[in-house]
Symmetry: C2
């Protein structure tokens, strides 16, 4: 039994516009990370992604499925249960994402500082 996803999973990086890189579109990278520990259900994914709408989550998952990053398994139960799981290809992105996270942890403060500094230049003038 894997642990439930932390609702605040993406809070630390939440000034997301401050981060100079993304994996794929807006959500793909975060979804890959959510699936790192094992398969997850649709609603389960919505928790840490917080502001994502079902429409966009569906669309993103479909695209990832199309590209061979995740598999979709629907169990014939009631209420319905659907699980998404990383493929090998999807798992291979994890190292990339980790590299990005490490970089971000290291350098994000510098970026924010540079941004604040250039902001002050335009403010006092």
């Amino acid at each position: 039994m894997i642990e439930p996803l932390d609702p605040d999973m993406f809070d630390p990086m939440c000034p997301s516009s401050a981060i100079p890189f993304q994996i794929g579109d807006k959500w793909t990278g975060m979804i890959v990370r959510c699936l790192a520990d094992g398969p997850r259900r649709f609603t389960e994914l919505r928790v840490p992604l917080r502001t994502i709408t079902p429409k966009v989550l569906t669309a993103t998952l479909r695209a990832m499925q199309r590209d061979g990053l995740v598999t979709r398994t629907a169990y014939d139960e009631n209420p319905p249960r659907v699980e998404y799981e990383l493929t090998e290809l999807g798992r291979s992105m994890l190292i990339l994402i980790d590299a990005a996270r490490t970089w971000s942890e290291q350098y994000l403060p510098a970026i924010l500082a540079a941004r604040r500094a250039s902001e002050e230049l335009t403010t006092f003038r």
Copy 2:
């Protein structure tokens, strides 16, 4: 004297929608790579970026400057000369970009294959 930029620098990755990750916005990653070997001029950057318009190139460079990724040096000459150069912070992104390129070289074929495969499913039905 550093070598001129190859106009076809980004041709191999040109089905860009097929690539599941980006660095920052559409152009930032490519610009960082263009500056890897040393400072470049505005017009010089336009060569490998090909379809970028001056407005967008300016906007992207300004944003990168604001975030401390590049420096802008204007020489008081006629005709004017301006050079863009990576900061240390900007250079630190190179390893990340290289990791992304390596990943892409390795797995892009698999993604395209998966995409083609799922396309055939919807076509013949």
